[in-house]
Amino acid sequence: MSMAQKSVSAPFAHRVIGWTVSVARPVISIGALLLIWELAVQFRWINGFLFPAPSAIFASLLADAGPGGDLWKHVGMSLYRLLAGMALAIVFGTLIGIAIGMTHWGRLIFKPIISALMPVPTLAWTPILLLIIGIDNRTTILVVFIAASFEVIYTIITGIEQMSSRVFWVARSMGATRMQIFWKVIVMGITPYLITGVKLGVGYGWRALIAAEMLAASSYGLGFMIFHASEYMAIEMIYGGIFCIAILGLLLENVVLRRIEIATVEKWGVQVER
């Protein structure tokens, strides 16, 4: 998606209205669905036990959010694991991606390993991790790391392959040292690809994390919250957990990271094929 002409900044009022409309549309459509659901339960069209009313779901979420409730501990723990796993994925994923993309030995050593491991679903690693590490934050953090690092590695390799050698020629013509080329050309050149890789990594990492939290029966975390709720038949909390997971996932991928993507990848007109 590249812009053909110089973008014109719209007046502030237009931008506020535009933003409100873009937020309002999904809110209205989801709100309508919830309203129908609520009415369906109130009028007994559907089973209120298996499909509790949204009002009941929100009530139990609110109760858990207050004093004596654990909601924020669950949210906080999941987010902490996600961030820790992403940090690892960014560091190692970038290094491995650069090694594969730029060096002969990197390609020889890492590429076959990555290609072989890629088809394995992230969750298949959980039993081994549980055996080696046990029920510990490290297990879930590593699950996020595994899920996200493949995305980061792949997009960075793509980024390096897309960079034409001419860009390096231009820099060398200006007398750039190797360090200058590293920071001013390579690092800046792969940044848009890293950002998109992180965005995809967060998507897969979040999903894998929740599932691992359920499997690993860890303490706290939204996945655990659902698992725990199901053991006690607290159905509202199961749905509540799903709501939280959905909203947080949406905020992370489509708001936070999308914003960063817009401020960099799109502004620079870089096409990141994925």
Partner: protein, 257 residues
Amino acid sequence: MASRPKIVAENVQMRFGHVTAIENVNCTINEREFVSIIGPSGCGKSTFLYLVAGFEKASGGKISIGGNPVTGPGPDRGVVFQEFVLFPWRTVLRNITLGLEIQKVPREEAEARARKWIRLTGLSGFEDAYPATLSGGMKQRVAIARALAYEPEVMLLDEPFGALDVQTKNYVIRDLQQLWIEANKTMLMVTHSVREAVLMADRVLIFGARPSSIVADVKIDLPHPRDPADPRLAAYQAEVTEILSAEVDRSMIQSRP
């Protein structure tokens, strides 16, 4: 007006595997001269330019700039490519200050010098634009300004107008002529257009079919800046075209199975 030699090529040869692209290339380009290189497709004219730029190493022979042999790329030479090769994550201003940043020129001075070239290349108002939003002609202007900003001794241009449409091309050609007069630099330009070569250059070096050497050195004895409608240009164009066509025919025969 006698001027000293700036770029000297002696017995330059370039081989890629078994294929010899250019050989026996001998030429001298003097200070402040504008020299065009023209030749059949695939004859190695861009190869020669990249050897002068230092991006490739010659298989044989020697190239020197201002007396110093070429061992690699360096800030004494500025390069402009057909595909612009701008840095998409930098604004126009920052693309142009890049060479100065690399030379550790302080930020204020670098920006002041960049702004001068922005003005001279007609880019005023676009300092904070990103390359993705610019047209081809603007991008090439940025590329030219970027190469001139760090004051190289020599400018090397590889088919600079190749990616531009005809109308834009005419404007950029006119601007480049002006820039060359202002900047007073030695310029070496590879082109496939006889019209461009004759319009802009003091001398046209015609490369032959592969393995290429310089088959002709046509001096264009007209003052600068030149008007494309000048009838005297037509005579030079005809002369260059005649020599070039013979070489194009020869290269076509070569490639026939």
